[in-house]
C-alpha cells in the first residue's frame, strides 16, 4: 500500500534533487568563471578599497598596533615565502655577512642615500614585540629592532610629488603563475606615505635580540604592523619613492598584488 502511494512521488523528488544539484554545479562553475573575469574582479575589489578607506579613517596616523611581552614571543617563528634566496648577488653579500651590502634610497627624494648596516645601526632605533599575521591565517609573535622608516625618509627628503614607498628585494620567488621573466618574479612591495610615517614601521636588522637571520629576511626587512605579512618585504636592497607604482613589474604594487592579492592588507 505504502509503496504504491509513494511511487508517483519518488521520481518527482529525485528530479527536484538532481535539478537542484545541477543548479548548484552550474552556479559554482559560474563563480569560477567570474573569478577570472577582470571586470567581475574589479567589482569585488571595490570592497577592498572600501575597507582601506574605512580603516584609514578608524586608524588615524599614529595609533599603534598591539605590542606584546617577552614571554609571548613564539618559540618557533614560521618563515614564509623566500627563506633561502639563491640569487648570485645575494649569495655573495651573505658570504661576507652583508659587510658590502648597502641600502639605496632613490626616486623622488632630495638626496639619494646609500647606507651600510653600520650606518643604519647608528640611527635612532625602535624595538617592538608584535604579532605577525600571515594572509594564510596563522600568527606568530616576535621582537624586532630596527630603524624607523621615517628616520631614513626624513634624511633623504621626500619630494612633494611622491605618494608611495617601494621596497625592491634581493630574492626571486617563482610561484609559476606569471612565467619566468626575471622582472615578474623579483619580490617587491609598496606602502603609502601614511604607513611610511607610522612609528612602528621600521626596517628591522634584529629579531628576538639577534642579528636577523636569512630565513626571516637578512640583512634588512620591513615591519608594517598594521597589515599582513606579505607586505613586509624581506631582503630589502633599495627603497624608491614613486608617484605611482603602475610602471613597476605587474603594476599592482607588489609581488603578491600582481598575483591577485589586495594592495591594502589591513584585513
Amino acid at each position: 500500500m505504502r509503496n504504491v502511494s509513494m511511487k508517483p512521488k519518488a521520481p518527482h523528488r529525485r528530479g527536484f534533487l538532481s535539478a537542484a544539484l545541477s543548479f548548484f554545479a552550474l552556479s559554482l562553475s559560474a563563480c569560477d568563471r567570474l573569478s577570472s573575469e577582470p571586470r567581475a574582479r574589479s567589482v569585488l575589489d571595490a570592497a577592498s578599497s572600501l575597507s582601506y578607506r574605512v580603516q584609514r579613517l578608524l586608524l588615524g596616523a599614529h595609533r599603534l598596533a598591539p605590542e606584546y611581552g617577552e614571554t609571548d614571543i613564539s618559540p618557533v617563528f614560521r618563515a614564509n615565502g623566500s627563506t633561502d634566496p639563491q640569487d648570485d648577488e645575494y649569495l655573495d653579500l651573505a658570504d661576507r655577512e652583508f659587510a658590502d651590502w648597502k641600502l639605496k634610497v632613490d626616486g623622488l627624494v632630495e638626496h639619494e642615500l646609500s647606507l651600510s648596516l653600520d650606518d643604519l645601526r647608528a640611527l635612532p632605533a625602535r624595538t617592538q614585540i608584535t604579532r605577525h599575521d600571515c594572509v594564510e591565517g596563522w600568527s606568530c609573535i616576535g621582537k624586532w629592532t630596527g630603524v624607523p622608516l621615517a628616520e631614513i625618509l626624513s634624511r633623504a627628503g621626500v619630494k612633494s610629488q611622491a605618494r608611495y614607498v617601494v621596497f625592491h628585494c634581493a630574492d626571486t620567488l617563482n610561484d609559476g603563475s606569471l612565467g619566468d621573466d626575471p622582472e615578474s618574479i623579483r619580490y617587491y612591495e609598496s606602502i603609502d606615505l601614511a604607513d611610511a610615517a607610522h612609528p612602528q614601521t621600521i626596517l628591522a636588522y634584529e629579531m628576538n635580540g639577534k642579528k636577523l637571520d636569512i630565513a626571516h629576511g637578512a640583512p634588512l626587512r620591513l615591519r608594517l604592523e598594521r597589515q599582513l605579512g606579505y607586505k613586509m618585504a624581506k631582503y630589502v636592497m633599495r627603497i624608491e619613492l614613486v608617484r605611482s607604482f603602475a610602471g613597476l613589474h605587474g603594476g599592482k604594487g607588489g609581488y603578491w598584488e600582481d598575483r591577485g592579492y589586495e594592495w591594502y592588507a589591513g584585513i
Binding site: C31, S35, A46, A47, L59, R131, V135, Y261
Partner: protein, 291 residues
C-alpha cells in the same frame, strides 16, 4: 511584521470578492513578513552562501585552528589535514585531540577524478580550485554586504518593534516550551490562530541567530584584521586573541550552518510552498494544512 491580518485582496483570494468590508470574514490570508524582513532575509541568505564557501576556501590556505594570540603549530585545536596511509593518503580531522578519518570529504577528496589533499572539498569552496586571493575577494565583498544588510535589518527591527513584538517570547510562551519541543519532534506545527505568531522555538532560534551567532561571526571576523586590532584592541581581549577569534569564527559558522539545516528542514515539513510564498510575497495562507 507578523500577525497583521488583512482583508483579503481580490488578487490573492478571489473567492471572497464581493464581500463588504465590514462583514466578518474568517481571514485566510495573513501578511506574515514585512517587505524589509523579506528583502533582508534573501540578501542575507545570498551573502551567507558566498561567505561560507569563500570562507572554506580561506580556511584551506591554513587548515588549522588554535587558541590564543598566536599559532602553536604543533598543537592545533582543530585541524583538517592529509596524512600518509598504507595505500596513498588519508584525510584526517583532529578535534580537541581526537582524530577522525574523513577521507573523501575532509582532508582528502576527489577533484576532477584526482585524489587531492585538500581540507574542504572543491565542491564546497569558491572558487572551486585552490586560490586564496580570489577567495578573499569574494569573502570581503559579501562581508560588507552582510554587514550593511544586517544593520538595515537591526535598525528596522528595533524601530518597527519587530523584535519586541515578534521575536521576544512572553513568559507564558516560555513556560510552554516543553510542550512545543514535543510537538516539534512529532512534526506537529501550529495552524490557524496559533500559526499567526512564531512559536517559542522559532523565536529563540531566530534570536540566537540575530543577536548571538551573526554578531559573533562578524566581530570575530573583524578581530582577524590587523588594522581593526589596532583601532579596537579591546576585541582581542574580548575574544582571547586573534587565533581564538579565528576558532570562534569557525565555530559560530558551524552554528549557523546547523541553524540553516534545521531551518530548511522545518520549512520543508511545515508547508513548504506556503512558507516560501510568505517569505517572497509576504502572504501566508492560514487554511493550508501543513504537509
Amino acid at each position: 511584521m507578523l500577525a497583521r491580518e488583512m482583508t483579503p485582496s481580490p488578487a490573492v483570494a478571489p473567492e471572497t470578492r464581493g464581500l463588504a468590508q465590514d462583514e466578518p470574514v474568517e481571514a485566510r490570508w495573513l501578511r506574515r513578513h514585512s517587505g524589509l524582513v523579506r528583502f533582508t532575509h534573501w540578501v542575507n541568505a545570498l551573502c551567507f552562501i558566498f561567505l561560507l564557501m569563500s570562507g572554506l576556501q580561506i580556511f584551506n590556505a591554513h587548515p588549522a585552528l588554535y587558541v590564543g594570540a598566536q599559532s602553536e603549530f604543533e598543537h592545533p585545536t582543530i585541524s583538517i589535514t592529509a596524512k600518509r596511509a598504507d595505500h596513498g593518503i588519508k584525510g584526517e580531522t583532529m578535534i580537541f585531540g581526537h582524530a577522525i578519518d574523513t577521507t573523501g570529504v575532509l582532508g582528502v577528496s576527489t577533484t576532477g577524478g584526482q585524489v587531492t589533499p585538500r581540507a574542504f572539498p572543491s565542491w564546497s569552496t569558491i572558487p572551486s580550485y585552490q586560490d586564496l586571493a580570489t577567495g578573499r575577494l569574494w569573502h570581503f565583498f559579501f562581508a560588507w554586504m552582510l554587514v550593511l544588510n544586517g544593520l538595515a535589518y537591526l535598525v528596522f527591527g528595533f524601530a518597527s518593534r519587530h523584535f519586541r513584538r515578534d521575536l521576544l517570547p512572553s513568559t507564558a510562551e516560555l513556560r510552554h516550551i516543553g510542550a512545543d519541543i514535543v510537538a516539534h519532534l512529532r512534526l506537529r506545527f501550529p495552524r490557524g490562530e496559533a500559526a499567526k505568531r512564531y512559536n517559542v522555538l522559532q523565536q529563540l532560534a531566530y534570536l540566537a541567530v540575530v543577536f548571538v551567532l551573526f554578531p559573533l561571526v562578524v566581530l570575530t571576523g573583524l578581530t582577524m584584521s590587523p588594522g581593526i586590532d589596532t583601532a579596537v584592541p579591546q576585541l582581542l581581549s574580548l575574544f582571547g586573541g586573534r587565533q581564538t577569534a579565528r576558532l570562534i569564527h569557525f565555530l559560530a559558522t558551524c552554528g549557523l550552518v546547523t541553524f540553516v539545516i534545521v531551518h530548511l528542514a522545518m520549512v520543508l515539513v511545515s508547508g513548504v510552498w506556503n512558507n516560501i510564498r510568505s517569505m517572497v510575497t509576504g502572504w501566508y495562507d492560514l487554511r493550508t494544512e501543513p504537509r
